[in-house]
């Protein structure tokens, strides 16, 4: 009597063994699982952004008023440049998928060209991101921060934004200088001082009748609240604490510091992904040129790095929506 089971009754079924139920190579499958985990990381960040935004839902900065610049052009162009960046990234996704397609046909020349274009697209995107950061850090109009950490911005009577430099002049007799380590306590220093002091801003404000204060609070019409002349002056004098120009991890002239923190963190993390994607693309690009995959008769490496590159694009689609549109 035979005790060995020869037939399990599951032959030919998907999970019966001796089969490839997922019909994907090890490398591709692992890339997919990495992408799932990375997607969860990013959604963790974006959900945290959503948390902070819901927490300050009535005072969050309006993205249209923050990202209004286009390189080499003056004026107010909300969203145009980010839309351009989105298009660049989608375009480089397309050249990537064309490279994958050419790889399936073992067409080395085409893979080379498309990989090259993908790398160029990635570099343009990272460069744009750096410019966007630079503009955001440098700031535009300047603002006053109150004791409670709220931001007071300035508008004229028609509601157009007014920069601090438009109505404030530096008091020449002021002798406030930045404290450096070499001048005092060697273990204490402070950052760059703002161009103006709060007193100078208040002086300038008193001298210009057409300037009003705009608070962070969003009114029913979806716009920031503009105070009357009297209320503005009272608020400035009672609560004005610091002059803020631009944004960093501590202060943010556009509104809640959390907005700047999340902006730096999420777009920075995404930009790092784009950067590493470009580096990996360059490595694969040289492998293609050297004929590694030609000899292997298999361009699957291009496909794997392509998956990663598309994922970076996918994440940007969400970052674009939640940072710039919603």
């Amino acid at each position: 009597m035979s005790t060995t089971v020869v037939n399990t009754g599951t032959e030919g079924k998907t999970w019966g063994g001796g089969n490839k139920p997922l019909n994907a190579s090890y490398g591709k499958m692992m890339m997919w699982f990495f992408i799932v985990s990375d997607a969860l990381t990013f959604s963790g960040f974006l959900a945290a952004y959503g948390f902070s935004r819901f927490k300050f839902i009535d005072s969050w900065p309006i993205a249209d008023e923050v990202f209004t610049h286009v390189p080499f052009f003056h004026g107010n162009y909300p969203m145009i440049y980010v839309a351009f960046m989105t298009f660049i990234l989608i375009m480089s996704s397309v050249t990537m998928v064309l490279a994958v397609d050419a790889g399936h046909h073992l067409n080395k020349a085409k893979v080379t060209i498309y990989m090259f274009l993908t790398i160029i697209g990635g570099l343009i995107f990272v460069g744009s991101q750096a410019w966007e950061w630079g503009t955001f850090i440098k700031g535009d109009y300047g603002a006053i921060q109150t004791k409670g950490g709220n931001i007071l911005q300035f508008v004229d009577t028609e509601g157009h934004r007014v920069a601090l430099r438009d109505f404030t002049t530096v008091n020449e007799h002021s002798d406030r200088t930045a404290h450096e380590r070499k001048n005092g306590l060697w273990f204490v220093d402070e950052g760059t001082l703002p161009t103006y002091t709060v007193e100078e801003v208040i002086h300038g404000f008193e001298a210009h009748d057409n300037v009003l204060v705009r608070t962070q609070i969003i009114n029913d019409a979806g716009e920031k609240t503009v105070l009357s002349r009297g209320e503005s002056l009272k608020l400035l004098k009672e609560n004005g604490k610091a002059v803020v120009e631009g944004a960093n991890l501590h202060v943010n002239e556009y509104g809640s510091p959390l907005f700047a923190d999340f902006f730096f963190f999420i777009t920075g993390f995404h930009g790092f992904h784009v950067f590493s994607g470009v580096v990996i693309n360059i490595i694969i690009f040289f492998n293609v040129i050297l004929g590694t995959y030609e000899r292997r008769k298999n361009y699957e490496m291009v496909e794997k790095v392509g998956l990663y590159w598309h994922f970076v694009d996918l994440v940007w689609v969400f970052v674009f929506t939640f940072f710039y549109l919603v």
């Binding site: 997922l22 699982f33 959900a47 959503g50 948390f51 399936h104 709220n150 298999n298 996918l314 929506t321």
Partner: protein, 126 residues
């Protein structure tokens, strides 16, 4: 290597002759969707600013358009359409389930903290 691509999108409404053609077709579609988003974002039509399920109607449109874009990037650029059903479900449903769960918890909590600031004894506006 046999690479079978499914060449129809929009549930078979549009069929392409080759994979390359499909890629360009999807690019055109994604560009149109992005353009619509940007135009809506700049002009913000008043009629879409009504509150709907706790958010402005316009924001819902943005989120839905984003998910549409994500679908076509994953399905056509990442070739999810050509993978087996089991791999597809493993990747997509795991992510969707966990992300929805996380979003629900965090947004719920964020809204609660906002109410505490607004109605409670915490003063922020000074």
């Amino acid at each position: 290597m046999a690479h079978e691509h499914k060449l129809a999108i929009f549930r078979g409404l549009v069929k392409f002759k080759s994979n390359t053609q499909k890629i360009w077709g999807v690019l055109i579609f994604l560009t149109i969707v992005t353009a619509v988003e940007v135009v809506l974002g700049i002009y913000k039509p008043k009629s879409l600013m009504v509150q709907f399920l706790g958010m402005k109607g316009l924001n819902w449109i943005f989120i839905i358009l984003t998910i549409v874009k994500a679908y076509y990037i994953t399905w056509d650029f990442m070739h999810m359409r050509d993978e087996t059903k089991s791999l597809r479900r493993m990747v997509v449903w795991t992510a969707i389930f966990l992300i929805l769960y996380l979003i629900f918890i965090l947004l719920q909590e964020g809204g609660y903290v906002f109410d505490v600031y607004k109605d409670g004894f915490v003063k922020r506006d000074f």
